[in-house]
Symmetry: C2
Subunit: 137 residues, 2 copies
Amino acid sequence: MKIGELSRRTGVSTRLLRYYEEQGLISPARTTNTYRTYDDRDVARVEQVVGLVRAGVPTRLARVLLDLEDTRADGLAASCTRQVAQMLAEELTGLDERIACLTRSRRTLCEYLQRTEHATAVLEGAHAPALSSAPPH
Amino acid sequence: MKIGELSRRTGVSTRLLRYYEEQGLISPARTTNTYRTYDDRDVARVEQVVGLVRAGVPTRLARVLLDLEDTRADGLAASCTRQVAQMLAEELTGLDERIACLTRSRRTLCEYLQRTEHATAVLEGAHAPALSSAPPH
DNA sequence: CTTGACCTTCACACTGATGTCAAAGTCTAG
DNA sequence: CTAGACTTTGACATCAGTGTGAAGGTCAAG
């Protein structure tokens, strides 16, 4: 598919799709040697990128994480220098802190909404499952 | 305490502390009517702010969340307009998405590190507990 | 071949979060 | 009182993530 369709499917502007490519997050092929071409895997990849970016993960780290998933998907051996492993371990604790902080705020917000008279009205339908004390997934 | 000490305690630059004040996230008193004065609660508040901001929560939303916690701490009644409740509910799903995405990336990164020959070396000590499949808290 | 829809690159611009620097006021120790 | 450390405001700079628009190339339908 071309960039316009990918944009429609993911809700990400074409501008941003080109930006992500510039940052090395996606690497579409070129058909006519001028038009970018994407496949279904790119759709998933883009969705994950926007998720990470909106969660405050800088594009540099996002790239590393995506590369990691690619490596695993390819069944390649996990090997890297001690230095890199150390850096990734630090990123892991960074992720943990982010998750912990978000979870705390989520709980606060969630509890507040439940004590609100509009709770049922506002949290009906798709939002309802999100009310459990633990975050989904 | 004055801004310098708060900066030292929290690791947040004085510049950023003033910025957070400008954004309505902290409201220090003024002693000599020129110097900002902070108390211990501000330390906790600042730490929470940096956590939220680093997790991709915009300062505007962070302010809402902190106000919510203040309200709860004051034992005030939970009441707001339907509109506001609706908006907060949307923010809740936004938080859920952020948490889900971070959790997924965390798992990927974590699994990768465990398959690395440097796993034990790099994840020893304080980092070890973070290796469980579920994020902390 | 022309038209319209879509694509390309390039560039300017804005917001949010930060850093840095300058000019000037305040406070405390000596 | 003076020197040094700290503070204040304000301006300019940077980076990431975006929007927007210009100028022009590609392609498919009529």
